[in-house]
């Protein structure tokens, strides 16, 4: 059931993404409205699916009450959920219809990656949490980081939309796209706000990782690949925020910097799992129950 609900949610996200692209090409407001509805449905089903996963996970006593993000599937599923929910709230609040085309593809990518991970590892079934992960930090450290990544992903989409709109306005021959994209200043403020919200969460997530490491391995920081890349990501984003605040480094360069930050975040989340010995839980899969 959990699996079916997840598939349905993934299908709804994909359909919403397609609608967002159709809306990009057509001028019919209905596409955008349906996109929002499908996203709402997708997020609800996904929540339900995640709830079922939680209850299955907790049915094994040692797992109780830890977050089921110990496998690639679980982590990606949570990431997609956080991502989609963040977009749903932004969209419902600001009604920036066309933004979907810039943001939603990431939601789909996360879902498909989860499906791929599930197919590859066969780890949809929840297993026992490896003993090292049975810590209350399990509910804080990865969740905080993934939530930050989800918000940053949205910021990336908003930044992309800003770049397109900036090009439109600079061209002095704006196409129809210009009139359906949100205003430049609006996108800029949204981008800045999302990054400013995500940065402290990211920092907190990394700090909690350090605290966990101190408890588990007796040291705060070990320059493990994942740790290093998370730090690089954070530094890029902090630089981004500071530059905007102090050096009035807004405009193209600020957006490029935030995109670089997102590339780092992607690498930290996905790429490094295969390089990092300490953070290799995801790629190792769960222990048999």
């Amino acid at each position: 059931m959990e699996w079916r609900l997840f598939l349905a949610a993934a299908a709804f996200y994909t359909a919403a993404t397609v609608l967002a692209f159709v809306f990009l090409r057509s001028r019919d407001e209905r596409w955008s409205e349906w996109m929002l509805r499908l996203m709402g449905l997708g997020v609800s089903l996904h929540l339900l699916s995640f709830g079922l996963r939680l209850s299955a996970f907790w049915s094994l006593a040692p797992n109780r009450y830890f977050a089921p993000v110990d496998s690639f599937f679980g982590a990606l599923s949570y990431l997609a959920l956080a991502f989609s929910a963040a977009f749903f709230f932004i969209e419902a609040r600001h009604r920036l219809g066309i933004l979907g085309a810039f943001v939603l593809p990431w939601s789909c990518v996360a879902c498909w990656a989860a499906l791929w991970a599930a197919g590859r590892g066969g780890t949809v079934e929840t297993g026992l949490l490896v003993p090292e992960l049975r810590s209350y930090w399990m509910n804080l450290h990865p969740l905080a980081l993934m939530t930050a990544y989800a918000v940053l992903g949205n910021a990336f989409g908003v930044g992309l939309a800003w770049l397109v709109q900036d090009r439109q306005m600079k061209s002095r021959r704006p196409t129809e796209l210009c009139y359906r994209l949100p205003a430049l200043e609006l996108l800029d403020r949204l981008n800045e706000r999302l990054i400013s919200v995500a940065c402290p969460v990211l920092a907190l997530g990394i700090a909690m990782g350090g605290a966990w490491a101190h408890g588990a391995w007796g040291r705060f920081w070990g320059w493990d690949a994942k740790e290093t890349w998370a730090l690089v990501t954070l530094l890029v984003y902090v630089a981004c925020v500071l530059m905007r605040r102090t050096a009035s480094w807004r405009g193209r360069r600020a957006v490029y910097a935030s995109m670089l930050g997102f590339a780092c975040a992607l690498f930290t989340f996905a790429g490094v799992n295969f390089l990092s010995g300490l953070h290799g839980y995801l790629s190792q899969g769960a222990a048999p129950p």
Binding site: R27, R172, R173, P174, C178, Y179, A183, L184, S248
Partner: protein
């Protein structure tokens, strides 16, 4: 047999003078005269581009209040105009009249295709008729449906998108940069009708803090008085570039008054806020190279004209799909009309959407 009838003149069929005469009559007077002539359900649509009367002919059994058939609409219109109208008048009945109203409400029959005002005018006409007690079930459904179709066509085809004047196109671009124009400040350099018009459009969007700089202090003060703006000494304007959001340049200067170094030094103090430069002067007031500065958006008169031209042709391109949608909705209305037939008075559930009334078992 009851049915919808329409008689009218529009900008397509008649000279302005004739329409002005009918327009002067006024909607309430028109409705009164229709009542006297035996019409119990009628709506008068009177704008500067059209004068149309929609009536619902009462079922023959009951007749009008006097028990006889009402005077025909074209005879009435001719009477009001005081001149023969046969060459200018169009008459439509039933579903075709409804289709015409749908296309009018959608702005497809307007002088400026897709203009939005007409929808409000249709609404107003309908409300006047309703206030005068001149509407019934059929006219209620007809007009509410027309308002719905008018909105639908605009939303689905975007026929009303894109402004058709240079000044309003500039205002729309400003919105694309700043979002709302509320609280934005505007600086006019020089003077001129185009500058005034553009400023008016921006102020219509609630931009506030208008400043006017002119080489002649007297001219600046005079213009400022008219707009409730603040006159600025010419030498002071470069400093204002650090704080204003929109600059409308319209001086008669032979060489650019806004140069790249000026804008660059202002940009540093602006902390990355966008600056919108509208250059409507010929020869130009703003150096072309200003465009290269980040977050500075320069539009010249030529650019704005190009945008207006494009909008116009875009609207024409959408006309076909808009017409298709209108005719779809008209035939939907027609099938509702014929299915309700004679018995519609008895079995009709008053619905916003006639299609639902058709589907509902009676």
């Amino acid at each position: 047999m009851s049915g919808i009838e329409l008689a009218g003149v529009s900008h397509k069929t008649s000279p302005l003078g004739l329409r002005e005469g009918l327009h002067a009559l006024g909607v309430p007077a028109g409705l009164d005269r229709l009542r006297v002539a035996g019409w119990t359900e009628a709506v008068v649509l009177s704008t500067c581009n059209r004068f149309e009367v929609y009536g619902v002919r009462p079922a023959s059994a009951s007749g009008g209040p006097a028990g006889e058939a009402p005077v025909s609409l074209d005879a009435l219109l001719e009477n009001w105009a005081g001149v023969p109208l046969s060459r200018h008048l169009y008459r439509l009945e039933g579903a075709r009249a409804a289709g015409h109203l749908f296309s009018v409400a959608s702005g497809l029959d307007s002088l400026v295709i897709g203009e939005a005002e007409i929808l409000g005018q249709v609404k107003q006409s309908y409300e006047s008729a309703r206030a005068a007690g001149m509407t019934g079930k059929l006219s209620n459904v007809l007009f509410q449906r027309a308002l719905y179709v008018g909105k639908l066509v605009r939303n689905r085809t975007g026929i009303g998108l894109g402004r058709l004047s240079v000044a309003s196109a500039a205002a729309v671009l400003a919105e694309r940069i700043f979002g709302g124009l509320k609280g934005r400040s505007v600086l006019i350099l020089g003077a001129g009708r185009m500058a005034e018009l553009t400023a008016k459009h921006l102020l219509g969007g609630r931009a506030c803090g208008l400043r006017i700089a002119n080489r002649s202090w007297a001219r600046a003060a005079e213009l400022a008085g008219r707009f409730n703006a603040e006159p600025v000494a010419w030498d002071c304007f470069p400093r204002l570039l650090e704080s204003v959001d929109i600059v409308i340049a319209s001086t008669g200067a032979a060489s650019p008054v806004l140069t790249r170094p000026m804008i660059e030094s202002a940009a540093a103090a602006r902390r990355g806020r966008s600056l919108f430069l509208i250059d409507i002067a010929v020869p130009r007031d703003v150096e072309e190279r200003v465009q290269e500065v980040e977050r500075v958006y320069l539009y010249t008169m030529e650019d704005l004209r190009g945008i207006v031209q494009e909008n116009l042709s875009r609207r024409r391109g959408r006309l076909d799909s808009a017409r298709l949608l209108v005719s779809e909705k008209a035939s939907e209305f027609e099938s509702w009309l014929s299915s309700s037939g004679d018995g519609f008075g008895a079995g009709l559930r008053h619905s916003w959407r006639p299609a639902e009334a058709v589907a509902a078992p009676s």
